[in-house]
């Protein structure tokens, strides 16, 4: 809960005074060129690791996503290891023997039809995720919960963190990223900017966070998504497909990152 959120709450309050309202409307959308989507992850946990290749669909479509099952997919690292992934169908591919090691740079290569896509990502050194601190504030008569992931940023600058949030085991679709640009090498005290307009934290709820140490390009991808989805009086930034680390115009992301989970009950 940072400024955006507080401003948001007040603004919503003001809107209420000014008789503001929300409604679902029908829009005419531009036609959507279906693009190839590549999702690949290598983590510091034991393998196998998975790559998924799908295609995007129109915004109004509710059907399933087309998949590509006949691609040749390899992941190699800078220590001389290379792994050609096995296809599992439904667009999924699985590594056979690769291990994720902190500090190594991984290269993904996808050959789909006559197109080749490559991506690179470096797995940062793991930063220990100690716990989750919950803070409560009374704002305009309602209890607002804030969650602070407790970890100590290393002295070396350039660390990026991503947090994946589950509320009672259901994944919340929000991009939560932090970096050490303004507070390097110290214990984190920054709250995650969770937008809780569409759900409520209630006492007893189980909140789970997965902390990922991610590289610079992966962080840029998620930060761009987070900035686009900012809402409130200023609005978000003009939306765009976030810059990613895959060549040849594929959407999606290849990320080598560390993972660590912590849970906490809402008091």
């Amino acid at each position: 809960m940072k400024m955006k959120n507080i401003v948001n709450i007040l603004f919503t309050g003001l809107l209420f005074i000014f008789m503001g309202c929300e409604k679902v409307i029908d829009l005419n959308y531009k036609s959507n060129p279906s693009r190839i989507i590549i999702q690949g992850n290598v983590t510091n946990e034991a393998g196998p690791y998975y790559v998924k290749i799908t295609k995007s669909i129109g915004l109004k479509d509710t059907g399933s996503y087309p998949t590509i099952d006949d691609a040749v997919v390899t992941i190699s690292d800078d220590a001389g290891n290379s792994d050609t992934l096995s296809t599992l169908g439904h667009g999924s591919y699985r590594t056979n023997h690769l291990t994720g090691v902190e500090g190594r740079t991984y290269t993904l290569r996808v050959q789909a039809g006559d197109q080749t896509y490559t991506a690179q990502s470096t797995m940062p050194q793991r930063v220990r995720f100690d716990s989750i601190k919950v803070e409560t504030d009374l704002i305009t008569g309602e209890t607002e919960y804030s969650f602070i992931p407790i970890f100590t940023d290393p002295v070396v600058k350039g660390n990026n963190y991503r947090f994946v949030l589950w509320l009672n085991d259901s994944l919340i679709n929000q991009q939560l990223v932090l970096n050490d640009e303004v507070r390097n090498g110290v214990l984190n005290t920054v709250r995650l900017e969770i937008n809780d307009d569409d759900f409520d934290f209630k006492p007893g709820d189980l909140v789970t966070l997965q902390m990922q140490c991610i590289d610079k390009n992966v962080a840029l991808y998620y930060r761009t998504l987070a900035l686009i989805s900012d809402s409130g009086p200023g609005g978000g930034t003009t939306p765009n497909n976030p810059p990613n680390n895959i060549t040849n115009g594929a959407l999606g992301l290849f990320s080598a990152h560390t993972v660590e989970r912590k849970s906490v009950r809402v008091p």
Binding site: I6, L10, G13, L14, L15, I17, F18, G20, C21, E22, K23, V24, I25, D26, L27, Y29, K30, N32, P33, R35, Q39, N41, T54, S56, I57, G58, L59, T62, Y65, L138, I139, T140, G141, I148, V164, L171, N173, E181, V182, V186, T189, D198, R223, T224, L227, S231, P233, G234, G235, G236, T237, T238, P239, N240, N241, P242, P243, L251, G252, L253
Partner: protein
């Protein structure tokens, strides 16, 4: 030749208050082609051969006066004009019935505050910026917003002056109100790009707002009580006819009501402003003016979050009539804009703060060379101190130094009556910006740091200079029609950096640097004016084409709150805008008002955005219509209404979607290729003026905003449907439906 000429000069004032009158037409009856207009300080000067003449002073809303002059030596003719009866008032003042035909000035509108006050406005809070937004070529940034865009320009490309002092953030309360307390304002002029050479520093427009001087004859108290704010103004003579003062304050109290509910009791949300002015006539030729403005917004939630921002300006001006033909004005101006925001949690505290401070010296001479030439010459030096958004607090390491810059300009211009039907205004402005030392400047190429310059205090780092030619001409085709053409170049050395699609108080000003170069705009325009039915109607049309270079935007993913140097996140490009504006005014009769229409296109091309292709600027709107009517029912009652329609802003909606790590992500196509739904709305108001009892004059205004309750789009967001997450809903937020207002104004 050989015939000696003499000069008649003087000052024109309002009879009841002693306020000087700007733009009064002074015509020599015997030589109807000879005429001038009083300047910003009510001064005029005419040179004529020896002889007997009659001067006619006319100004809409005031009784015309004629004065016989026997000219055999230089003469001083100063005069007071008195208010005319109420029924002939008009909303937008025309200085003379057919002034629009003879003056070379293009793209200029003058607002009469007294009349603008009769138009319906949201919450009944009369607001000159909202009235200006009803003119063609000027677009509001969004419903309720005080930001505006002129001829395709961005919000920061408007030079907003309050008694010559630049106002950096002219809005209050999340942008819903302007910084201008109407009670303290005498006059406002907006110039859409074709500004005379004495103005400079912004690409798109000049909004020149002048405060009242204060009644020099009598004490007067006026004020108003409204739904969300109250105002009080006191003015009067200090020494009768020699010096006077005016002080005016305004404060909102919406939050006082809000705090009655327990939910909002920790919330503070209000603004106030204070305008003060005094003037002192040292003698008949020298006059001093002091004016000041102080405004502040406060927005806080218990001890968790606090934010305040405000403008302070102070101006000292010295008017001097050096000779009957030479008028001088010297101004010292101070301007400061401050923004603070802070957050506090149990464990930490963060504060962000930014400010911009100006010290400004202006010298302007007006030389009434002869009956056909009026020359202006002068210079301007502004010293800027700009502190970018700076973070502070527990365990934050962010060192951002203030940066300094010197903005200099010299100019000369001439208003030339070539012959009877042809008038040409031409001028040249030379601007020079010095990047000053005391800070470190990084140099980037393609967003990568390639060099760093540590510039010592007092050193000049980089100089940017520009020549800005301006010319406009009018040719009168016949008694009722004229054509005009114009060209103007404007440059801009300070830039407002905004990361969001809307404006936000965190948007920060930044000056030229080693990466940021002055923005340059070239505007070409052509116009046609025609007066119909004996000047009862006035039709003004203008077409413009404008190119802009060195435009700035953030690259994707730029996080302005944490990045150490925002200059690493900038992209540069150009812009173009073109359009047609039509304004039909009805100036006489019981029903007055206007119909404005704008057809326009505004595009940008920034390398690194939209695959380097041209795209619609956010403020690009194809059609913009406004209809304004004021109907005088009787001496007591006035009814008014405004209707607006405009194409929605250019925005980017998602076109598709995909799943990444079990989260739905939207796919986007070309930038700003989509449109918000159109906005339209009708507002009405009624004003009742009570018959005055002794000195007490009171009036009631009743208004209804958005009378047919149109849900205009403020924002559209995309969300997964709660019942079927596969379905994406477009959710539109609307702000104001049926907002009633009531205001009581008084004067004694």
């Amino acid at each position: 030749m050989g015939q000696s000429k003499f000069t008649i000069s003087g000052t024109v004032k309002q009879k009841s208050t002693g306020e000087t009158l700007i733009g009064v037409t002074v015509v020599v009856v015997e030589k109807p082609n000879v005429g001038v207009i009083t300047n910003e300080y009510g001064f005029y000067s005419i040179s004529l051969p020896k002889g007997n003449y009659t001067l006619r002073f006319s100004y809409v809303g005031y009784k015309q006066e004629t004065v016989p002059v026997k000219l055999d030596a230089d003469a001083r003719v100063s005069i007071h004009l008195s208010d005319e009866s109420k029924l002939q008032e008009v909303v937008i003042r025309a200085k003379k019935d057919d002034d629009n035909l003879t003056k070379a000035t293009m793209g200029t509108e003058v607002l009469n505050m007294k009349e603008a006050a009769k138009l319906p406005v949201i919450f009944g809070e009369k607001d000159l910026v909202k009235t200006i937004q009803l003119m063609p070529g000027i677009k509001s940034n969004g419903e309720g917003s005080n930001g505006f865009s002129v001829r395709g320009g961005a919000t920061d490309q408007n030079l907003i002056l309050l008694d010559e002092a630049p106002v950096y953030n002219a809005s209050h309360l999340l942008g819903f109100f302007s910084s201008f307390n109407s009670d303290a304002i005498k006059d406002a002029t907006i110039i859409k790009g074709n500004s005379p050479a004495q103005y400079g520093g912004r690409l798109s427009s000049v909004l020149d707002v002048k405060m009242k001087e204060g009644n020099s004859k009598d004490y007067q108290v006026s004020g108003g009580l409204g739904l969300i704010s109250s105002r009080l103004t006191v003015e009067g003579p200090i020494q009768k006819e020699k010096s006077s003062f005016m002080i005016s304050g305004r404060r909102t109290y919406a939050d006082l009501f809000a705090r009655l509910s327990s939910d909002m009791k920790d919330v503070k949300l209000y603004f106030y402003d204070l305008n003060a002015k005094a003037n002192w006539a040292i003698n008949s030729k020298n006059k001093l003016y002091f004016s000041g403005y102080f405004g502040k917004d406060v927005f806080s939630v218990s001890s968790l979050f606090g934010s305040d921002w405000g403008n302070t300006t102070a101006t000292v001006r010295w008017n001097s009539i050096l000779s009957s033909k030479l008028f001088s004005n010297t101004s010292f101006i101070y301007s400061n804009y401050d923004f603070n925001v802070g957050f506090k949690t149990d464990a930490s505290e963060i504060n962000y703060n930014s400010h911009i401070k100006d010290l400004n010296l202006k010298q302007d001479f007006t030389w009434y060379a002869n009956a056909n030439n009026t020359v202006r010459i002068g210079f301007n030096i502004i010293h800027h101190t700009i502190t970018p958004t700076k973070a502070g607090g527990t365990d934050i390491v962010s060192v951002k130094n203030s940066r300094k810059g010197l903005e200099n300009a010299v100019y000369v211009s001439n208003s030339w009556k070539v012959f009877d039907k042809l008038n040409i205004d031409y001028g040249l402005r030379f601007s020079l910006y010095n990047v000053l030392g005391g800070s470190t400047y990084n140099i980037y190429k393609d967003n990568h740091l390639i060099d760093s310059v540590i510039l010592a205090d007092g050193k000049i780092g980089k100089n940017y200079y520009n020549l800005e030619p301006r010319i406009s001409a009018s040719y009168q085709l016949n008694n009722s029609a004229s054509i005009k053409i114009g060209y103007a170049r404007n440059t801009q050395n300070l830039h407002l950096m905004s990361n969001s699609t809307g404006g936000s108080p965190t948007d920060a000003w930044i000056g030229n640097s080693y990466n940021i170069k002055p923005e340059v705009a070239d505007q070409y325009s052509i116009g046609f004016s025609k007066n119909l039915y004996n000047n009862a109607f006035e039709l003004n049309t203008e077409a413009y084409y404008k190119t802009m270079s060195n435009q700035i935007d953030y690259r994707d993913g730029a996080d302005i709150n944490t990045v150490p140097d925002i200059e690493s996140e900038l992209l540069f490009g150009k812009g173009r805008a073109y359009g047609l504006e039509i304004l039909l005014k009805k100036k006489k009769g019981r029903l007055t008002g206007w119909l404005g229409y704008t057809l326009s296109k505004t595009e940008r091309q920034i390398s690194g955005i939209n695959n380097n292709q041209w795209y619609n600027a956010k403020q690009d709107r194809t059609h913009d219509i406004s209809i304004v009517g004021v109907y005088t029912v009787s001496e007591r009652w006035t009814l008014s209404g405004t209707f607006i329609y405009n194409t929605g802003n250019a925005v980017t909606f998602p076109t598709g979607k995909y799943v990444l790590n079990d989260q739905v992500i939207y796919q986007y196509g070309a930038r700003n290729a989509d449109r918000m739904p159109a906005t339209h709305r009708l507002d009405i108001s009624a004003t009742y003026e009570r018959p005055s009892r002794r000195r007490w004059q009171g009036s009631w205004s009743f208004g209804l905003y958005n009378i047919y309750g149109r849900r205009n789009p403020f924002a559209i967001t995309f969300k997964e449907n709660k019942d079927n997450p596969q379905k994406i809903d477009a959710v539109q937020t609307s702000l104001f439906q049926w907002v009633p207002s009531i205001t009581y104004n008084f004067k004694f």
